[in-house]
Symmetry: C2
Subunit: 114 residues, 2 copies
DNA sequence: GACAATAGTGTGTGACGCACAGTATATTGT
DNA sequence: ACAATATACTGTGCGTCACACACTATTGTC
């Protein structure tokens, strides 16, 4: 029986929810702009489309975790984002949550069911 | 500045999506019924409400990953679930996905941003 | 001038954890 | 005997977000 690709893609997508926020916030201790962030996340093993990242950056800004400023000096205008102090706090707590979850998941998937 | 609890709860919930499927599937190599599963997941560090677990079990069955049968011998009728062969395959692949994700997340959150 | 790369915005959809509401029966406590 | 609690389950709607689709604009390369 072959695996249902649609179902697998769907489950994979559900696993990604939430972790993208953590990935992005982890990079934003120093200012970065969207296009370069796509590249550097890719290099670090987190594949994300521009169409997903730009709205995410804007949402995190509206939620008060990031703030932005335009750099228009160069050839192309770029919107730089960085974490706010609130974003720093939320990031720290979320990272802890993630680590607890990983421990729990490691424990439960290694425990043999009776 | 105090942390926005609502936002944190929301982000925490997003992190949970997907992992509950993995948690539940990990337990279903041997048949189990809903109420006991809530208890045993709780003991293994995965807190889940019955109102969340029962619909999840039914959804996984409709997706072909679990199948069920009623046990009506005892004092109370119980619906036992266990993984299908398709569910076994999906579980193995999803577990691998999760482990890749954990590695990527560990890498990216430990990497100091320039 | 055509095409690719760079850099961004706007909008709608599908899926799921959750909350709320509910049913039914057995067991325990008074 | 009756109330409270525990056990065991079903039904339904909502909020949220990663994604897909569509789009704009300018620079760089050939």
């Amino acid at each position: 029986m072959s695996i249902d690709k649609d179902l697998l893609d769907n489950l994979r997508l559900e696993l990604r929810r939430g972790t993208l926020v953590l990935s992005v916030l982890s990079r934003m201790n120093t200012p970065k702009y969207g296009y370069a962030l796509v590249q550097s996340l890719q290099e670090l093993g987190v594949s994300i489309e521009p169409n997903t990242l730009y709205p995410l950056l804007r949402r995190l800004e509206s939620q008060g975790l990031l703030e932005s400023r335009w750099e228009t000096d160069g050839a192309k205008p770029r919107k730089y984002y960085h974490r706010t102090s609130n974003g720093n706090e939320i990031y720290d707590v979320l990272l802890e949550e993630w680590q607890q979850m990983v421990k729990a998941m490691t424990h439960i998937t290694e425990e043999v069911s009776p």
